[in-house]
Amino acid sequence: MEMDNYLPIFLEESEENLQIISDNLLKLENNRDDKQAVNEIFRAAHTLKGMAATMGFQTIADLTHGIENLLDEIRTGSRQLTEEISDFLFLAFDTLQDGLTKLSNGEEPELDLSVLEKIDGDNNKQSSSNQTETASDINQYHQTVIKNAQQDGFNTYKLDIVLDDNCLLKSARAFMIYKDLDEFGEIIKSQPSIEELEEEKFENHFTFWFLTKSEKSEILKLEETPEIKSIKITDLEKDSKPERESTGPSKSEESVQAKKDKNSKEVKKPTQVKAVSTIRVDTTRLDSLMNLVSELVITKTSLNESTENENKQLINEGLEGLHRVTTELQNVVMSLRMVPVERVFNRFPRMVRDTAKELDKKVSLTITGKETELDRTIIDEIGDPLVHLIRNAIDHGLESTEGRQAANKTIEGNILLKAYQSGNEVFIEVRDDGKGIDVEKIKTTAIKKGVITEEAAEQLDEHQILQLIFEAGFSTSEAVTDLSGRGVGLDVVKTSIESLGGGIELSTQKGQGSTFIIHLPLTLAIIQGLLIKVGKESYAIPLSSVVETAAINRKEIQKVGRQEVFMFRGNVLPIVNLSSVLDIKATKDSEQVSLVIVKKGDKQLGLLVDDLIGQQEIVIKSLGQLLSDVTGFSGATISGDGKVMLILDTNTLFN
């Protein structure tokens, strides 16, 4: 079916609409009178309904239709937003999400519509009194719009317009009338449809349903327009608002004036969805663009090297231009790949709400800096670690309501999720104002669980003990709750963040709360590398894992058991001889060797290398599928002379 082509687009747009609904549901929960939020949900649900119906997903369309009706009644004030209804909306939203997930998994989006029955049942009861004869002409949605508009002080008319029999350009004339009317009101429906009018698929009569603040006389002026035979204006009010009939055929002027413009503005374009300013780019295209850039960067490096022997001025000029272009191109492409962390952050308000309910805690979540941008590959990976940290903060970080009262704190716990950029890194903080982490308790737990020996623990300062929380097999939770005991610990969080080239820090103050600070590189495609030489081979080490380099005398290397070590600034530094690890015959046997000190978490290691070449921007390329199982290398890069240089994954050397 051709619809399949549109499915990804439908899913993506539905995802956006669901996000809008979710955001505004949360807003509604905080402030039941938030008219704006109701409108936003209404619009999103309406769009979703339309799209689902077009795609033929009837159950989704039915459910959204139910939501829409319910919201409409809230909007018009005929029904109060109770907690019950709010829960319904959340439930309906979850059901919708389920349906979309099923769709994206290639299943039929069959939904459990029992939730709808409840909404619908109430809905029918409510709206039955408002059913009118006009229903045959216009559907319930338009009726509702008309009802709202009347409440907000609009005059609502049905205009039957007949054109002259000898009218030449009928569609153009109809369009001009449409435009004229549009200037002082809103046409909510047209019969035949606008499309049909445009295609001249009508005789010489058409009908508009029209909302306006102006009086009939204003509309009647149109009759003077050439080629219009007649305009018949019917007041819709009498039909759809029977209870007001007694007040007379025309709407009372007072109520028109009494209403604020602010409200009417929201109703004015009820069908218009808020435009979302995003671009969708095919990732494969992005990748090929990225490849182009990497080639340019390589050319730049090679040109750089040829300056030494050729026509210097010429090369310099070319180089300068090339340099500028590559930098710009690089920035542009980067920016294409960058997405705001909002994409990840958006799911947290809902999650915090659910988690807090589950744990019977009062939690308020503050999010700042959600416009901060990160590479989309990182964005995709960072979600799960953040979910874990936030759950952790609510579950372990925040005290129970009684606990907070006892500690003289606000009953509502505060979680702050903050993102910001600094230099080439993005920082994400998860902060709670809970009880903080007891350093002593960590120590005893760590010893009890065998993460560390008692003697070793004595040697550690407070900061180092805190780091134990990230060790495998560690959990601060005293009782296994529903949330903890999911088999994921902070060690997994740490590993996944480190695999992205970032790191995580923890600071805590007893009774004041804890803060986890994650730092991540802006992008993974181009990094700073330290080039080294072992034997005849050159390798690159990501600069992010390099602590420092040092020139040492081979004689100073000592042995502890079978491990070579070096006393560096008073610390015992284990040494790894790269030439033996990489199975390369060292060419030099000089006294002076270079040491590259690399880190993995808190651990440090000295790598013995023959030479340091220097620091360079390197483009990371994959070793390919065939060599994907090779350990010790995170990829390869191409040096200025076109040679392939492997990038050492120093993390694998720690063992």
């Binding site: 990489l582 199975d583 599928q625 065939l626 060599l627 010790g632 390869a636 240089m645």
Partner: protein, 154 residues
Amino acid sequence: MSTQQEQKFVIFKLGEESYGIDILRVQGIERMLEITNVPKTADFVEGVCNLRGSIVPVIDLRRRFSLEQKDYSDDTRIIVVSIDEVKVGLIVDSANDVISINEEEIEPAPSVIDSIDNRFIKGVGKVDERLIILLDLQEILKKEEIVKLQEITD
């Protein structure tokens, strides 16, 4: 002769013997490129090279077939093939021919040829009294063997 029954092969040499690879698998034939050794792979994996900006692993076919080693010469070529989207370079002594072989002229691998492992051979093609060994690329690029150090050679 109907084209349906004909298959085109890129012909290359290892020593005195001629081998053929299905031309549809061949992406290009390169002169010898500079190769970077990748430690901890099977010894027939020569390393990786830079093929116009992408990194391609290179396999030495002489070593893959446990043939006697020979220095690279001006004739040495790297045949770049791709199987299931995996791109690999194969180092061969020389490559200069593309020929069509009628399907009827292809016979299953005879046990007579004992110079290379039989499992690498898909069949033998006869062209003007020449025998051409047609290779099974899938077998040559067995991933598990490429990464693990080969124990057979020990």
